[in-house]
Every structure is written in structure tokens, then in C-alpha cells.
Amino acid sequence: MSYASWVSPNKVSGSGDDTVAWTGSPHTGRNSRTTTATFAASGVESKNLTIIQAGKSEFVEIDDTASVSKTGGTVTISGTSNSSKLTFSITGTDNIGLTLPATYLANSVSTNNGAAITGDPGATQQYNFSITFTGIAANTSVNSLTSQITVTTNNATTDTCTITQAAGDAYLTISPTTINLTAAGTAVNVSVSSNTSWTIS
């Protein structure tokens, strides 16, 4: 039995009195981890050194931004966390009109939004997650649209992602395209359909 690979001494052998320096590799899991190093010498009783590394505070990091084409479709947001559960919500103004999916992928496993993650992988190390928004409609305005997604951990730590949908194409139609005015000049209506400002000349 040897000490775990996540800990490194500055020497593995010596003679006489000495001091050994130990360094741990980064630990992303919430729970602390422990290993044992055995000091051994011929003819004497071995001595065990218990080595403990503290867990990382619960965290969540999600993409800061994501983009959707003007024609709509889907967008996937990714991140990392070590929380036992994640809850996604649409916060602030939802100009895009997103529909929050019921599930997302946590550590490659489909997980219900807000439910405990199977196996609690974050207890031992951070995991990747992603959530995909589908059915996004085309942007019919000439302005870009934004929505904000917030992910919340079990202990209420949050991070947000701003989704931006590209501006749609401008359009201008009139109906009818030909009008006949009477001699008296009676008014005739023409319907204008547009998503941008327009002038008559």
C-alpha cells in the first residue's frame, strides 16, 4: 500500500534525521480526502503518516455568454461544479423567449433540473454539466435579443450566462402595391408591414 498519487513528497528516502515536504495536487471535490504514507527502515517498526487534503468549497461556473443565430434553433450552455445538485432558471428579462428544459446533463448523466445528481460526483471531484435550450424561434426584429440563465448550487451559490440572439433581417412590405384615387381625392389606405423604421418619398 502506498500513498495516493495526489500527494507528492520532496523525497522518498533518506538517512538519519530529516524533514519531508509534502504537496497536494488541486482537489476539486467537496469532501476532504485522506491517504497514508508509510515510513520504513530495516529492523525497526514502520511509522504511518496520515495525510489529509481539505475539500474545495461548493462552486459552480457556467459559460459567461452564449449565442443563438437569428434563425433560432438550439443553444447549449456548459459549466463545471462540485455541487450535489444544480437548479437552472431563467432570470431577468427573457427577450428571446426561452423554454427551460426539464433535464440537463451532469457528469454525462441526464438529470432532472433541481434534483440530486446521481452518485454525487462532486463529493470527490468537479464534474462537467451542460443544458440545451431547444425550439428557439427566429428573431424577427432588427435588434439582438438577450436572456439570462442562472444556475444555483445546493448551497445557493450562483452563476449566470447571458444568451444573445443575433438581430433578424429587416423587412418592409406594403399592400396593395397599386391604388387608384378618385377625382375627388378620397383617401385610400395602404397597409405597411415592417420591423424597422421607414419613410415615403
Binding site: 500513498y3 513528497p9 530529516d18 508509510t38 515510513f39 503518516l49
Partner: protein
């Protein structure tokens, strides 16, 4: 005792580390010129070496080969080997080192 050392006096000194136990053995490698004086010191740090009283200089005849082995029996009772560590529990971190002390009079390794 783990840190007996022998000094073969010729021109200057040739230091040879010995095996830990009685009888103390020294393997001399090289081509020393006779006469050669041989003494054994007992101590941990070279600067504080204390001559072991049992050993008078032993005069050796010319050593004919490249390698010769000398064997002496000390009247000094070797200190039993020991190995202690302190502390027995440490916390480690990625960004800086943690330390533990080893107290021993012999060679040791970490598994």
C-alpha cells in the same frame, strides 16, 4: 550505530562509510601506499565526530590489491536503530508545502 565512518590516512583522507553493525567493516578501494592508518569515529555529524576509544590506529601493511577489506570489532555498543516521525497527521495544500520531521539513525524510505 548507523554512522560509523572510517578514515584511511594517507595523503589527506579518504572517507569510507561503513556498514552499521559490529563488526565494523570497511572496504578500501584504490591503491593506497603503505603504511596506512585506520581509525573509526562514532557520531552523527562529521564536525562533531568523537574518536571511539577502542580504536588505536591500526597500521596496515601495503595492500596489494585494488580492493581490500578490513574488519574490526568495536567495544562500543551500537545504538539500536530507531525511526520516528512528527507529526503523524498533516494537511496538504496545492499552493504551499506541508512538512513532517523524521528522526532516525538509519536509512529509511517512504511508501
Amino acid at each position: 550505530m548507523s554512522d560509523f565512518k572510517a578514515f584511511f590516512r594517507r595523503v589527506g583522507e579518504i572517507e569510507i562509510s561503513l556498514s552499521e553493525k559490529n563488526p565494523v567493516s570497511a572496504k578500501l578501494t584504490g591503491m593506497p601506499q603503505a603504511p596506512v592508518s585506520f581509525s573509526v569515529y562514532n557520531g552523527g555529524i562529521e564536525s562533531s565526530l568523537i574518536p571511539v576509544p577502542f580504536m588505536q590506529d591500526a597500521w596496515l601493511n601495503r595492500i596489494g590489491g585494488i580492493t581490500s577489506t578490513l574488519t574490526y570489532t568495536s567495544d562500543v555498543t551500537p545504538v539500536p536503530d530507531y525511526l520516528e516521525i512528527e507529526p503523524e497527521v498533516i494537511w496538504v495544500y496545492p499552493d504551499y508545502e506541508s512538512w513532517n520531521n523524521v528522526y532516525s539513525n538509519t536509512t529509511w524510505n517512504i511508501n
